[in-house]
């Protein structure tokens, strides 16, 4: 079974502190949900259910650093679609759709959302474009019937739900699917010999134009810190009389 894992390079959502010293330059990392997707693909292969894991991302050459991290985790080879424009989820989905046609995977696994954009659209849009089944916000994956179907547990607003999807399908990952492995030095060294293919949209045969434009970005007003209370009595009094919420 061939798995295509799609991942995005995002600014590190956690400030990195190394033994107490703050690192000043903002770092990029693989989107945490996509890391979970990569980890799941690796585990599926370790179980003997997959033979090839291909990674794909879209971006400028700088994202090769994240590609190497994915390769170091264990992805076999990767494609970078060379496009440094600000793309919206629909444009991303259209590009990925062309990659899927080219690579013909049995399943595509990706994070449910990117932690910088928080849109949670790409996987579903990709499934719509391809006409493939989808299983979103997945916390468990099992392959059935000689890998023609996948049974997926989904995390929804009402609790857990189980669905089965015919393959090929799109699966988007949620937090509790797994805990990704850390990159090891042997992995890092092996990664140096793994191929990264850089393709432009033209070479891929797809032309997309994002339909969404970001006009501005602003920080919301900071919520002011309140007051310290010293006891339960004081808290209740304040909630009743000051905040009038009890």
């Amino acid at each position: 079974m061939k798995i295509l894992v799609s991942f995005k390079s995002v600014p590190d959502p956690n400030d990195v502190t190394i033994a107490g010293a703050a690192v000043s330059t903002p770092k990029s990392v693989i989107n945490p949900f996509d890391e979970i997707a990569i980890e799941e693909a690796l585990r599926i292969r370790e179980r003997g259910e997959a033979t090839e894991i291909v990674g794909v991302t879209i971006g400028a050459p700088a994202v090769d650093e994240q590609i190497r991290a994915a390769l170091a985790m264990g992805v076999d080879c990767a494609i970078r679609i060379d496009d440094s424009r600000a793309l919206d989820p629909y444009a991303v989905a259209r590009i990925l759709s062309a990659v899927v046609q080219k690579e013909a995977p049995h399943v595509v696994i990706m994070g449910k959302q990117a932690v910088d954009d928080d849109s949670n659209q790409v996987g579903q849009m990709l499934a719509g474009l391809l006409g493939w089944p989808q299983a979103t916000f997945v916390s468990k994956i099992e392959f059935l019937d000689n890998k023609t179907r996948a049974r997926c547990t989904r995390e929804t607003d009402a609790g857990l739900e189980v669905v089965e999807v015919n393959l090929p399908a799109i699966i988007t990952t949620d937090l509790r699917l797994n805990e990704p492995r850390y990159v090891s030095l042997p992995g890092l060294i092996k990664a140096r010999r793994k191929p990264i293919e850089a393709l432009t949209c033209d070479q891929l045969g797809v032309t997309v134009r994002p339909l969404t434009t970001v006009l501005s970005i602003a920080r919301p007003p900071k919520r002011a810190a309140g007051t310290r209370v010293e006891s339960v009595e004081e808290l209740i009094t304040k909630l009743k009389q000051e905040a009038k919420v009890l």
Partner: protein
């Protein structure tokens, strides 16, 4: 020659001149004052090598960053408690093994990463910077220099294939048993004996200060096959845990690096198969000297990283702590200590990298190894003393993790040859 230009120097400046000091590109421009102030300029924190005539390659940089991230994310937990209770962190050891630390310099065909000496010491330095558990690092070093290295250089193919893969991924913990109650600095006066009986050697004697003793799966044990031959009788043996007649006795309580376990080990008619002779009969002294050269050069690489971390901690503290209406860093007596720390870190680093580079380029680094060890140990202890002083009362409290650094550092003047022994070595190399 000092090149203090504030913009990245032209290529010509970077031509091989021994000891060119170069302000790093990341520190240039608006960031330079800040980078210098917090002690990170010229350090490995931005991946640049300050002091030699070359920079890290992209691959080295990537590797060092990975080491730093791994250590800071995965190794810094429960250190205060483990130090207090003398507990070895098996989980952290395993993580290091999976990550690749225990096999850094071992050729890839035996399961290691095949790193050259310079990259190895730089990786260990970064490990020391990002990991606060000096005891864990001490155990890793003991494993690397007293068990792994002798096997790499003196092991037979069969022995290498049998033990190195496990040693490299941490599933086999190694150490050595050399010192005895009556032979420390005078190592070759050891009295543990090894007598050949049929297809086995029978070992009798007692060893002390066996680092990793309580947890080791494999010890390189030094014993003499013929006391009358003096050093030429000494031989090295690969002794597996639980060998009949081997008794790992009480754990020894130490002043520092307490998370690294140490024990006395007794050999009472301990039987070791003949295929476990490491090298030749009588080749033990040479084997020991050779691996000790590695050990001396490398064992304090992580100390350079620890010193860097301490320096940054002190700078931060000196800027934040206010007494008498100003930050204490403004007082010259405090600033002066921090300056001394900085100079010690830099000189230690340069000696370390020089040793690493030489080791990769020629065989004989006996002198450089001794000087490196002597100097770094001295610097480390002094840095730790200064750090405590700068932190005042807080420096004395275990919670602040400053006092532990000094306790960990003091041993560096004792193990792998005391500072006095290093001086003797250097003196003799100077023809005195």
């Amino acid at each position: 020659m000092v090149c203090a230009c504030l913009t990245a120097p032209p290529r010509a400046c970077r031509v091989a001149v021994y000891r060119v000091y170069r302000v790093t590109p990341a520190a240039c421009g608006s960031g330079v004052a800040e980078a210098v102030r917090d002690g990170t300029s010229g350090s490995q924190a931005d991946g640049e090598l300050n002091g030699m005539d070359f920079a890290w390659s992209d691959q080295q940089r990537e590797l060092l960053d990975a080491v730093g991230r791994f250590a800071s994310q995965q190794l810094n937990y429960n250190v205060i408690e483990n130090d207090r209770d003398s507990v070895f962190n098996h989980d952290a050891w395993k993580k290091c093994g999976s990550f690749g630390i225990q096999g850094l310099p071992v050729p890839a065909e035996y399961g290691g990463l095949g790193m050259d000496p310079l990259t190895t010491v730089a990786a260990l330095e970064r490990l020391g910077y990002a990991c606060k558990d000096n005891g864990l690092l001490f155990s890793i070093n003991a494993h690397l220099w007293t068990a792994v290295t002798p096997l790499v250089y003196n092991g037979s193919e069969a022995q290498k294939k049998k033990y190195l893969p496990g040693l490299c991924n941490g599933t086999i913990i190694g150490g050595n048993a050399m010192s005895e109650p009556n032979s420390g600095s005078d190592a070759f006066s050891l009295t543990t004996t090894a007598v050949k009986k049929g297809s086995r050697y029978i070992i009798n004697g007692s060893k002390i200060f066996v680092t990793n003793g309580p947890i080791a799966d494999l010890l390189v044990v030094f014993a003499t096959v013929d006391k009358t031959r003096g050093p030429d009788g000494i031989s090295a043996f690969l002794v597996e845990k639980d060998s009949p007649g081997m008794n790992v006795a009480r754990k020894l309580e130490k002043m520092g690096v307490r998370t690294s376990p140490m024990a006395e080990v007794f050999f009472e008619n301990c039987e070791v198969p003949e295929e476990n002779l490491l090298g030749n009969e009588g080749g033990g002294a040479f084997l020991f000297t050779r691996s000790m050269t590695w050990e001396r050069g490398c064992i304090l690489a992580s100390a350079v990283g620890s010193m860097q971390r301490l320096l940054e901690t002190c700078i931060r503290y000196a800027n934040e702590r206010k007494q008498g209406g100003q930050s204490i860093g403004k007082y010259q007596l405090v600033a002066s200590k921090i300056v001394d720390m900085k100079v010690r870190v830099e000189s230690s680093r340069h000696m370390l990298y020089h040793y690493g580079w030489l080791s990769g380029h020629r065989k004989a680094v006996y002198l450089e190894a001794a000087m490196t060890k002597l100097h770094i140990a001295d610097c480390w202890v002094k840095c730790c003393e200064d750090a405590i002083q700068i932190h005042g009362g807080y420096g004395y409290m275990t919670e602040y993790e400053v006092e532990r650094e000094l306790r960990d550092a003091v041993g560096s003047k004792l193990y792998s040859g005391t500072s006095e022994i290093q001086r003797n070595i250097i003196a003799s190399m100077l023809g005195l």
